[in-house]
Amino acid sequence: MRFQAEVRRALGLREAGVYYALLLLIITLAVVCAVLGRPSYLSAVNLINIVYQAAPVALMGVAMTVVLITGNFDLSVASVAALAAAVQIGAVDAVGFAPALCLALAAAAAVGLLNGVMVQLVGINAFIVTLGTLTAVRGLVLIVTGGRSLMVQTPAALATMTGFESGRAGPFPYPILYMAGFTLLVWLVVHFTTLGRRTYAVGGNAEAARLCGIRVNAYRIGAFVLSGLVAGFAGVLYASRFGAMNPTALQGEELTVIAAAILGGTSLFGGAGSVLKTVAGALVLYTLTNGFNVLNLGANYQGLIEGTVLIAAAAIYTVGGRRGKSLRRLRALAHDTIIPVRSALPETPCHKTRC
C-alpha cells in the first residue's frame, strides 16, 4: 500500500510533470514533422542540437536551483556571464587560455560573493541586491569593453577557445558533457551528502537549521558563489563559441534560467527543488524554440507560448502541491480573504513571505 502510494506520488503531475511535458512536446513535434513531411524530428543530430543549445542555460539553472533551495534568488547571472566572457576575451591574448579562464571565474565568483554578503550579512532582500548587481555588472561590462564588441586577436588563443567549446566526444559537443557532469555532481551532492541535506534545511526553515547548529549564512553565501562561478563558466562557453562578444550579450538570459528552474518545480520560497527537473525545464524551453524553427512558425509567437507554458506549469505545481486537500476545500479557502500573520518572531529579518 505504502509503496504504491509512493509510486503514485512519484509519477504524479507534480513530481514528474516536467518530464511528461518534455515527452509530450517531443512527440507532438515528431508527429507534426512526420505529417508535414519534414526531415525526422527525432534524428540524433536534432536532439543533440537541442541539448547543446540548452546547455549554458541548464548549467546556470542547476546553480540557480541551489540558490532557490536555500531560499534566495539570483537575478545577476546573465550579467555575470557577460562579465566573465569579457574578461576571458580581454585577457586570453595576453595570458593564455587557462589563466584567462581563472580570471574570468574569479571575477564571476567575486560578484556571487558580493551578492551573498549583501543578502546574508547586511540583510538586504536578495531580489533587490541581485537586481542591483544585474544592472551594475552590465554597466561594468560596458565600461570594460568601451561599448564595443570584443574579439580574440591571436589565432592560437582563438583555436584553444573554440576547441574548448566546439570539440566533441563522440557525437556529443563538450558543453553537453560539462552540463551533464556538473548536473550529476550537484545531484549527487544534494541528495547523498550532509551538505545537500543541510542546504534543503536552510531553505525549509532557516531558524530551525540555525538552532540545529547549521551555518545558515555559509550555506546561503556558498550558493551565491556557486551561482556566480557557474554563470562565469557559461559566459566563457559563450565567448569561446564565437571568439567574440558584444557588450549586450546574454541580456535577459537570467529570466530564461529562472524560468527553467520554475518549470522544473523549484519553489521560490526555498526548501524544495530538483536539479534534474531544472535541466528538463531548460530542455522544454529550448525544444519549444527549436520547434518554432523546425516548423517555420513565426518567432513572434514564441514569447507568448513560452510565457503561457511557464504559468501553466506553476499552476499545476501550486494546485497539485496542496496535498490531501480536495478542490472543494480549495474553493472554500479562496473565500477566506484575510491573510494570516505568519512571522511571530520580530527578531528574525523577513527575507521572504510564505503563504
Partner: protein, 508 residues
Amino acid sequence: MSDGSSPLLELERLEKIYPNGTAALSGVDLEVRSATVHGLLGANGAGKSTLIRILSGATRATAGEILWRGERVSWSRPAQARAAGIATLHQQIPLVGTLSVLENVFLAQRGGWRRGQPLEARLSRLMASIGYEIDIHAPVETLSIGERQMVGILQALAAEATLIIMDEPTASLAAAERQIVHRTLRRLAAEGRAVLLVSHFLDEVLALTDEVTVLRDGAAVLTSATALLDEAGLAAAIVGRAVREAAPRAPGDAVAGRPVAEIIGLESPGRLAPCSFAVGAGEVLGIAGFLGSGRSELLHAIFGADRGARGEVRLFGKPLARSPRAAVAAGIALVPEDRQAQGLVPEFPLWKNLTLAHLGRFARWGLFLRSASETAAAEAAIEQLGIKAHGVATAVSELSGGNAQKVSVARWLCGPTQLLLLDEPTAGIDVGAKSEILALIRELAAGGLAIVLVSSELTELTAAADRILIMREGAIVAERMAVATSEEELVLLASGAAGELPTGAGIS
C-alpha cells in the same frame, strides 16, 4: 435576542466524514445558551477543530443539523457565519501585520470609506467595555501574542457577534495576560453574549465556564454543568482513562550528580542581567517566570544563539565558543518554544527532521549520508518515545502537537547531548501528551542528562523539576528546591516581593 430558555446554538447528531473515510465527527450534540461560557474540551484529534471549522463556515457537515436561534442553517462560507453573528478566534489569529490595531479591528466592516474619527471613538468604547488598553495606532506585527489575542477579541466585539468561539485563547499567554482574557470572557457572558471556549487548561475551564462538553473520538462523551465537575473527572473524560501524573521524583538523588554545565556571568544587554548557576547530571532545573521575564532569552544565550550575549558557558569545565554550532558539537541541545517556526523543517519527513542536528553521525566521513541508518534511528525513536505516526516518512505537518514535540526532542537524543534546554515543551498539547512529555523529561534526567526546563505551567515545574530558578525582568531573582516550594510561592516570587502581578503584556 433569544428568549433565554431555548439555546442560541444547537447541534444535532452532527457528523463530518472526509472523502477518504476518516470520521472527524460522528454525531455530536451540543447546546450553547446565551449569556453563558461553554467549555469545549478534548484531546488533540478529538474533533474540536473540525467542529469549530463547521461552526465558522469553513467547511460543511456531512450529516446532522445546526440550529441557530432555533432555525436550521447551513453555512458554506465563513462570511455567512460572520453575518449571522458568530465570530471565531483561531489559535493563529488572522491579522494583517502591517496594519494598525484600529484598522485590524474594523477590517471586516463593510463600506469602502473609512473615517478614522468615529471608528477611533468606537474602538475606545469597546476597549473601555472590556477594561483593556492598547495603542490603537501600533502596527499589529509589533504586538506580543497576548496583545494580538486581545485585538482578535476586539475584532469579534466590533462585528457585534452574539457567539464568540475561542480556540485556545490563552495557550501562549503569560499569567497577567490570561487574567485579562478571563475577565473579558466573563464580561462578554454578562452582556448576554455566548462564548464557546476551547482550552487545554482544566483549571481555566472549571473557573470560567458555566457548562462543559467533552469530545472524544468525534463524539460528545460528557455534557454537564461546570459546577458538578472537578479536574480529575474532566481529565478522565478527555483521555478516557485516569490520568497518570508525572512520575514523582525521588528527592535528592539527582542533586548529587557532577555539574555538567556552569553558566558564569552570562548576560545580554537589554534582555538578560548577568546570570550564574550550574546544572548537574541527572538534574532537572526549572525556570519559572512570566512571559517576557527573560526565560527564553536565557536559554538562547546559553545555546549561543544570541549573538549579543556575553559571559561564559562551561561544559564539564571547558569554556564553549559562543555559537549554536559549537553548542551542538559540544552536546548542548535546544528545543525551542515554537515547534513549527523554530523547530521543524516542514518540507522534511519525520526521519529527516530527526537526524538534522547530528547529521554527521549518519554519514560516512561526515559527508556521505547513510540513509538506512537514518531511517533506522527514526524507527528506533518512534518506538522508544511512542511517537504516533504512520512511519518514518510521515510529514511532520501531519503530526499532532505532542508527537511533533517528541520529534523535536528525539532529534537531540541521537547525538552526544549532555545538556538539554527545553523551552515550553508542553505548550499547546493535550493533557495525555503532556504527562507523557513530562514523564519523558524525568526519564531522560534519570538517564544522566542535565535538563533546563522553562515552563509557564507552575504545576508542571513543581512536578518535573528538582530545583527551580525564578526569573523576573531578565534576572534570576530566587532559587527554590521543588519539594520545598509551592505554586503560590512561585507566583509571588515571579511577580515581585509585593506579590502584585505585572500589568500590561509582554515586557521586552
